[in-house]
């Protein structure tokens, strides 16, 4: 039985339209968080990334719960969850780029996800030297820049996904070695990559296996009541 689900949504629709159609499903905490963003574009993305988990939970997890009936909350470590009227709790982790939103959900495991895009002007060598432990820095010895950037993204997204799953502050996670993230088998890291994007998922091994679905933002907006 699939324990965790991941959706990768391509942002191919007007997010403002999503907000206009879907904002009524959001709770007070979500509205407050959205309201803090300074720009309309950021508000739109923040809204969409909060509306979509509710819709997905109602469609794919528990169809007896309407999107507005989920309670959205934050754990003491800042993690997100949805709780249904029956008490069902879904641990949620989100990540986004300008082109994609990634949403992961698990009933049985704390979960963390991150997606990042290789940026050609990112000074990853300086970041590695300043923030990574020596054992991780050694991974980059003698690597050409193109390969080094890809390795950097894998390590970076893994550490961020781990930080989200565990609640450990990211600045502390940066100092942990990549091999140390799995914590003697307590955590599992999985990557998905294409030429540009790197996605990392961190979950307890009992939170696996998982399914990954790629869907369009437009199709989710069409599901809104």
């Amino acid at each position: 039985m699939t324990q965790a689900q991941i959706w990768v949504l391509e942002i191919d629709a007007d997010l403002n339209q999503c907000y206009q159609k879907g904002h009524q499903v959001l709770g007070a905490l979500e509205q407050a968080e959205i309201g803090m963003y300074q720009t309309i574009v950021d508000k739109g993305l923040a809204s969409f990334s909060r509306i979509v988990p509710r819709v997905l939970a109602s469609v794919f997890i528990d169809c007896s719960v309407l999107p507005h009936e989920w309670f959205f909350g934050r754990t003491v470590h800042g993690g997100r969850y949805l709780r249904g009227p029956s008490g069902l709790i879904l641990n949620i982790s989100l990540a986004d780029t300008q082109k994609f939103i990634v949403i992961s959900m698990s009933r049985s495991s704390d979960i963390g996800v991150d997606i990042d895009t290789i940026s050609h002007d990112l000074n990853w060598r300086d970041i590695t030297t300043r923030f990574f432990p020596p054992c991780d820095q050694k991974l980059f010895d003698d690597l050409p820049d193109s390969m080094g950037a890809q390795i950097f993204m894998m390590i970076w997204t893994a550490k961020e996904a781990f930080a989200k799953a565990t609640g450990i502050k990211f600045a502390n996670v940066l100092k942990k070695s990549l091999s140390g993230l799995t914590d003697n088998g307590q955590w599992s890291i999985t990557w998905f990559r294409d030429d540009v994007n790197t996605l990392a998922l961190c979950a307890h091994p009992n939170g696996l296996p998982f399914t990954l679905k790629k869907i369009s933002a437009a199709s989710v907006i069409a599901l809104l009541p």
Binding site: E33, M36, Y37, Q38, T39, V41, D42, L45, A46, D96, D114, D116, S119, L122, N123, D126, I127, R130, F131, W156, E160, K169, F170, A171, N172, L174, K175
Partner: protein, 75 residues
């Protein structure tokens, strides 16, 4: 370069978007990679090195200003 101009440059946003209240929760552009780039840029400009607890707490422009002020640096 002023601190706010430095932050705007690193985050690649217009200068006027950076206020004392700008934070990781108000600008999507202030993501994790930009955060470490910002830390390194501030360290370089002001000749300092932040500790890990300080890096964790540098979540807003105001917090960066206060951190620098605590080190005797006026921005």
């Amino acid at each position: 370069m002023s601190l706010k101009k430095l932050i705007a440059t690193v985050l690649r946003v217009e200068d006027e978007k950076i206020t004392d209240e700008t934070s990781t929760k108000t600008l999507k552009a202030w993501n994790s990679t930009k955060h470490v780039e910002l830390v390194m840029a501030v360290e370089k400009q002001y000749g300092i090195r932040f500790t890990t607890p300080e890096i964790i707490s540098l979540q807003s422009v105001r917090q960066i200003e206060e951190m620098l002020s605590n080190r005797g640096i006026q921005v």
